[in-house]
Each structure stands twice: as structure tokens, then as C-alpha cells.
């Protein structure tokens, strides 16, 4: 089961288009869209009010809280989930479990009703159960000639909690920490990336939080919007997770040294 989400700030708005068909063409109109967000330590779930036709649900994310996430389900599945008093996101149905290509919504951002950019977006339920770290380059998708460069780091965690952790900007070549930020679970964390940070050796690293890194560049009301992949996807053999762990340990060592120098820890 996949979740869908939007992003927004004072410049950018977004629209989420959720298909009522799988990518092999199989339609099923029995599902509705529901939205969920953590509230007072519980998942608050409501049927989403949005436009729809026989092929899609159309969500104008400006009408929703930044923390709200969306999923497809039947009324019965949602009622059973609420009655069960489970307080964790659960797999309610398999309609959005497709392979080899994942079931995706289109997440389109726009600015001043002019420029727009989109990608095919999903957040798989398996990922909501995991904690971990992400390492990703900053300069691949950002542009130092743009007026503004933003990193949105989206996390969905199965428990309705907001757990804070650190996100670091790391110079992998000179082995030093450039800056640090706080990120939270169940948030769309927004970080403005300064132009001087957009260098070929600069990466960002999250200490304890998995998520999807989304990069936005803005110039003259034109937009670019795309996500990066987790590092293990670049390696193909069975030892790839070990190799990625080694690389992440290198970054942790840089962070430990930085913490010692700055905080005396």
C-alpha cells in the first residue's frame, strides 16, 4: 500500500493527481481517497473532499495541512481500522501494490500560476516502518544560478509521533560538516539550500530518519522538481548494503568529530 503527499510554502503550491487505475490499465472505482495526520498522539483519518472523475482524484493541497498524507481505501476498510484502535499506519488493501512499476500519483508543484514541475510520486508503507539514514548529493538537482534552491525532506512514520533528528550538510571531499538542521518524522521538512552549499562534493545526510529527498529550483518563475535515489540503488551486487553502510559510517565519523569540536561531546 502506498501513501501520497503534497508540498507547499509561501511561494509554491501543489496538486496531487491520484489514479483510479493501476499502471497495467486495471480500473477499480470502489476506492475513495482518505487523508491522515498525527493529532494528539493518534492518527486522525477523514474522507478527503476533492474533485474526481472516473480516472483520477484531484487534490488541491493548498486546502490541507502540510502534515496530511493521502491513501486509497474503502469506507469499510477505514472503519475497521478505526474500530480496531490500532494506532499505527497499516496495510488496508493491495490496490496500490503493483510491480515492477510502483503505483504512483502525480505530484505537481507550481509557482504564481506560471511555472510548474512534477514527478510520479509514492511513499510505500514498508518505508514507513523503517528508521535509517539517507545520503544524497546536493548539486545533482540544484542550480547555483537559480534564485532559490530548496530541499524538501518528506518522512512518513507509521507511529503518529514527531521525532526530531539532525540533517547535516557534509563536504565529502574535505570531510567536514558545513551546516546542520533539525528534521522531524511525519513532516515535510523544508530546508533552503544556500548557493554556496551547491558544490560537487557537498551531500546531505540524515542521522536517524528515512525519507524522500525532493529538490526544487526556482528561476524566473520556472521550476525544476525531482527526487534523488537512496545510495544502495547505485550498487548491484549482494554486498551493496555493506558498502553503503561503510560509506555512511565514514559520514558518521565526520559528524562525531564535528560534535566533539563544536559541543565538546
Amino acid at each position: 500500500m502506498n501513501f501520497f503527499f503534497g508540498i507547499k510554502n509561501n511561494l509554491i503550491s501543489s496538486n496531487i493527481t491520484i489514479p483510479r487505475f493501476q499502471n497495467n490499465g486495471y480500473h477499480n472505482e470502489k476506492y475513495s481517497v482518505y487523508d491522515a495526520m498525527p493529532k494528539d498522539g493518534k492518527w486522525s483519518i477523514n474522507k478527503t473532499i476533492c474533485q474526481s472523475d472516473k480516472n483520477f482524484f484531484y487534490i488541491d493541497f493548498s486546502k490541507f495541512d502540510k502534515k496530511q498524507i493521502f491513501f486509497l481505501a474503502t469506507e469499510l476498510q477505514v472503519n475497521n481500522f478505526i474500530m480496531s484502535k490500532q494506532n499505527i499506519l497499516s496495510n488496508l488493501n493491495n490496490f496500490t501494490n503493483t510491480s515492477p512499476i510502483e503505483f504512483r500519483s502525480n505530484l505537481r508543484i507550481s509557482i504564481n500560476k506560471k511555472g510548474f514541475s512534477s514527478y510520479q510520486s509514492e511513499y510505500p508503507i514498508e518505508m514507513t516502518r523503517k528508521k535509517g539514514s539517507i545520503l544524497s548529493p546536493l548539486s545533482s538537482l540544484l542550480n547555483s544560478n537559480s534564485e532559490q534552491n530548496l530541499l524538501f525532506f518528506k518522512n512518513i512514520y507509521f507511529e503518529p509521533i514527531f521525532e526530531k533528528s539532525k540533517l547535516y550538510i557534509v563536504d565529502m571531499l574535505n570531510r567536514k560538516i558545513i551546516d546542520e538542521f533539525e528534521v522531524s518524522t511525519n513532516e515535510t521538512n523544508e530546508i533552503e539550500i544556500k548557493k554556496e552549499f551547491i558544490k560537487d562534493s557537498n551531500y546531505f545526510f540524515t542521522e536517524k530518519t528515512l525519507g524522500i529527498p525532493l529538490f526544487v529550483s526556482i528561476k524566473n518563475d520556472h521550476l525544476s522538481f525531482e527526487h534523488t535515489h537512496p545510495p544502495h540503488l547505485y550498487l548491484l551486487n549482494h554486498n551493496r548494503f555493506n558498502k553503503v553502510s561503510e560509506l555512511k559510517q565514514e559520514v558518521r565519523n565526520i559528524i562525531n568529530l564535528y560534535n566533539k569540536e563544536t559541543n565538546g561531546i
Partner: protein, 251 residues
């Protein structure tokens, strides 16, 4: 484990695809090491387009390989090689501008592939899915990541395989892009990643694509994009236009 190895062998994959039983989407042996696998990326220099290619030096980042370098091969839309470009002094992340000047005056579209090279026995194969940005009328580039493994070569150039996507023998595969297309203009770019000519149906119009060749298709009044072919993974890159504004995403 032995059973798994046999099941994943190239011969078994071809047989599975012939029978349509647990088909292999890519005819690649994941046991092989020291291979650089490339997606098929699209370049565009037509209609004022420029293409920016953004890629990481994976061998240096993960393996501290000081002999790391890349070879980028450019093909026209008929899958004919038009340029080979080698870069030895790599940064951790790199950007290459592909415009008509870079391609010796060509204003058209086609594909390109990136292969990492090394003098060392790395012991691991890599896949660089990279990012291609498309700038229309000199505006900000709209970036997309690669989405289909298509070919690979060994780091030492001794072995290479092209057009490794799996294809069914009998049944056509349907791929319906999960988005609604309601723009002034929508184009899709497709390439044939299989090792044989395939017939492609896009919204009931038919195109024959030879192996490795690419095709830019205008989506007329349809708001849906439905692609049928015998290729198991035929995913387009989509170009949406609204006035001077452009959005490019992979389908």
C-alpha cells in the same frame, strides 16, 4: 542457492520470458562484477532544447578509486553512434551541457549512455541512474532521473551488452501512465531497450522501433497515455508545455 543462480541465469531468463513465467525485466546477470550498467538517457537539441546531464562519480565516492573515469556514448534517433566523449578528471558530481554545438551542429534528439571505467578490480557492479535536465528556450532545466537499465560494459572494456530489456513472446504488455495530461502540448520520448525491433502502440497509433532507436511522439487530444508493446518495461519521458513553461517527468 544453486537453484536461485540457475533461475537468474541469462538462459533461464530468456526461457522465462519465452514462457511468460515470472518474466525477467532485464537480461542481466547480477552475479557479474565490475560492470557499469547504464540507463538510456535522452538528449534533445531540437526546438531550442539544451540537455544538461548530471552524474556522480560512483567509483570514487564508494570505492575511493583514483583511476575512475567515464565514457559517454551518444546515438542519434536511429541508434547510430554519433559521438564518444571521455572524461578523466571527474568531480564527485558532474554536469555536462549537451547542445547542438557539443553535437557538431546536430539539432535533433537521440539517446546516450554512461559507462564508468577503472583500472582496478572493484568487485561490484554499479548502475548510475543519473539525471537529465531539459532547458527549453534557455530557461531553467527541468530534471528527471533515468528509468530503464539498457546496456552495460565492464570497467576494463573487455565485455559489453546492449539492449538488455526483457520482452514477452506472445502477450502485449500494457503500461498506462498514471497522470492526467491536460496541457497545451504533451510529447513523450520512447526508446526501444530490447534487442529486436518492436511494435509500439501509443493511444491506438502504431510505431515500429528498431533496437536502440528513439521516437518523440506528440500526444494529441488524449488526456491519458496508454502504451502497448511486448517490452516488459517501456516507460516514456513526458514533456508537458504550457506557454513558455515546461515540465519533464518520467512516466
Amino acid at each position: 542457492m544453486e537453484y536461485k543462480k540457475i533461475f537468474r541465469s541469462k538462459l533461464a531468463k530468456n526461457l522465462r520470458n519465452f514462457l511468460g513465467f515470472k518474466p525477467a525485466h532485464f537480461l542481466i546477470d547480477y552475479e557479474k562484477t565490475n560492470m557499469s550498467v547504464s540507463d538510456a538517457f535522452f538528449w534533445r537539441t531540437d526546438n531550442t532544447f539544451k540537455t544538461i546531464f548530471s552524474f556522480s562519480d560512483i567509483l570514487n565516492l564508494y570505492f575511493k578509486d583514483d583511476t575512475s573515469r567515464v565514457e559517454i556514448l551518444f546515438y542519434n534517433k536511429y541508434a547510430e553512434l554519433i559521438k564518444t566523449f571521455k572524461i578523466a578528471n571527474l568531480k564527485l558530481t558532474n554536469k555536462l551541457l549537451i547542445d547542438s554545438f557539443f553535437l557538431n551542429g546536430i539539432t535533433d534528439y537521440g539517446t546516450f549512455y554512461i559507462y564508468h571505467k577503472s583500472n582496478k578490480d572493484i568487485g561490484t557492479s554499479i548502475r548510475n541512474s543519473c539525471y537529465t535536465g531539459y532547458s527549453f528556450k534557455n530557461n531553467l532545466s527541468s530534471f528527471v532521473h533515468g528509468n530503464t537499465l539498457t546496456s552495460y560494459t565492464s570497467y576494463n572494456n573487455e565485455e559489453s551488452h546492449s539492449y538488455i530489456a526483457g520482452k514477452s513472446t506472445f502477450q502485449k504488455q500494457i503500461y498506462q501512465v498514471q497522470n492526467n495530461y491536460n496541457f497545451e502540448k504533451t510529447e513523450i520520448m520512447l526508446m526501444n531497450p530490447c534487442n529486436e525491433t518492436i511494435l509500439i502502440e501509443v493511444n491506438k497509433e502504431f510505431y515500429e522501433l528498431q533496437k536502440g532507436s528513439s521516437k518523440l511522439i506528440n500526444i494529441k487530444d488524449d488526456q491519458l497515455i496508454k502504451i502497448k508493446s511486448k517490452c516488459y518495461l517501456l516507460r516514456p519521458v513526458v514533456f508537458n508545455y504550457q506557454g513558455i513553461y515546461l515540465d519533464v517527468h518520467h512516466g
